[in-house]
Symmetry: C2
Subunit: 246 residues, 2 copies
DNA sequence: GATCCGTGTCGGGCTGGCTGCTGATCCTGG
DNA sequence: CCAGGATCAGCAGCCAGCCCGACACGGATC
């Protein structure tokens, strides 16, 4: 995982389109994300990129000068330790903003997370400074960002809830429910989590080991609560699953 | 804990001072928080409140129509379950913004966290709508809020790192280091955590039990890494403590 | 076809949760 | 100021959940 290679294939580059694309509806609830996309696209120096599954978006230690909007796919933010162990801090879903802490200080800072494409990913990236000036010029941009960050906080705090469960069984169930919320596709049989998850990946996300996850998933499957087909998990009934907290 | 009473003692109420107090320096790094304070104070309908230790600021289910800035003290955000169990999602330090998710949707929503004063607390509160219009009028307000939220995300994600440690010993050590960062007062002997922490409170924050915390803290004390006086923990040498990861 | 990755399984060992109890400390009201 | 109650800290013994190490198997990839 240290030997991961950077995998950028810059597909489009919009140099300084000037007009930040007037954002009209604020707080309409549903369409926020699309307008945030428009904002990002309109920023000077922004570009669209697509990255293959498993490639790194940024390494810890890289200078933090750009912000990212995840357009399609999932990104894993993780912390790497000297021991080589890697723990997942967040699994970002579509329309999430990340790498934003560069706005925090204003001065130059470095990444301390490792961001890798968990699936094939499409994202829009722009210099932090551009975004900053956009906010100063148009207050509604600031509101959009605030909403983005709020939802990110919510997501993160849900993860904390998951992790404070003592027994691994509850933790796994809680995590699966989070995944259903963030990556779930409703289908005939139930909700399918649109990610190809290895047991190892789940273990790294909830602080357990591969073997334990295997066993617990097996239990859940035998109880008829879910099914796994080609690494994709389908939860038949989230309500029933939620009742299975120990 | 269900029988907790609301403890508001409204001390000041500034009704509509109109001018949002022009914020000049942006991203100066150091003084952000004080200016955020000024902004909050200038909002129409804002008020300063002080709340006794242990009293509730808002309950889950309450309508979320106000935002809070923690001026002094510490606030605990927690999630309550039917089982009566209560897990801590965040321990907010001074100058933290909370209750902000009401900005997220724009429409009326309810709290789903329980916010209680962990110490005696002073805070500024204002209607979310006021803050919203302030952002629309002055973009720099939006930037201040963004910085506030970013630091909150950072704080939260550090907590996730803490919680993914498998063994309780590491988790406790990691949590203590977080507390040193957020609530530490440097002193002659080391860093004193300026909170009166019961073992039970620590257990609820890191997903363990009271008994285990007692044992582990005893171990750390015997190793000469910290000292506890009247529920206040003093870490002699954070560096040495950090080395004690399993 | 060889290799690698992911999945499934077993058993041993230990961390850490649970119960029950006692003494210390803090808070409150008379 | 003191007495009583409530909360907190500390100890011990029991037991299980889960980590660890190891191995076998199937499927994907080159």
């Amino acid at each position: 995982m240290v030997g991961a290679t950077r995998g950028f294939s810059r597909t489009a580059s919009t140099p300084t389109t000037g007009s930040p694309g007037a954002v009209t509806t604020i707080g309409s609830g549903a369409q926020d994300s699309t307008t945030l996309l428009e904002v990002m696209r309109g920023l000077s120096g922004s570009s669209a990129e697509s990255i293959d599954r498993g490639k790194t978006i940024f390494f810890p230690g890289d200078p933090a000068e750009r912000v990212y909007l995840l357009r399609r796919g999932a990104v894993r933010l993780s912390r790497v330790y000297e021991s080589g162990e890697e723990i997942t801090v967040a699994l970002l879903r579509e329309n999430s903003l990340f790498g934003v802490l560069s706005l925090l200080t204003g001065q130059r800072s470095d990444r301390f997370y490792h961001a890798i494409a968990f699936t094939r990913v499409e994202l829009i990236t722009a210099p932090a400074t551009s975004l900053r000036t956009a906010i100063e010029q148009d207050a509604s941009v600031g509101l959009l960002l605030l909403q983005g960050l709020s939802s990110r906080i919510l997501q993160t705090e849900t993860m904390i809830e998951t992790l404070t469960h003592r027994d691994m069984s509850s933790r796994l169930v809680s995590f699966l429910l989070v995944l259903c919320r963030d990556f779930g596709l409703p289908g005939a049989e139930g909700i399918t989590i649109d990610l190809r998850l290895s047991h190892q990946a789940i273990a790294e996300a909830i602080g357990s080991t591969r073997v334990t996850i295997t066993r617990l998933l097996g239990d859940l499957r035998q109880e008829g609560l879910l099914q796994i087909d080609r690494k994709k998990i389908t939860v038949f009934d989230p309500i029933a699953l939620a009742k299975r907290f120990s």
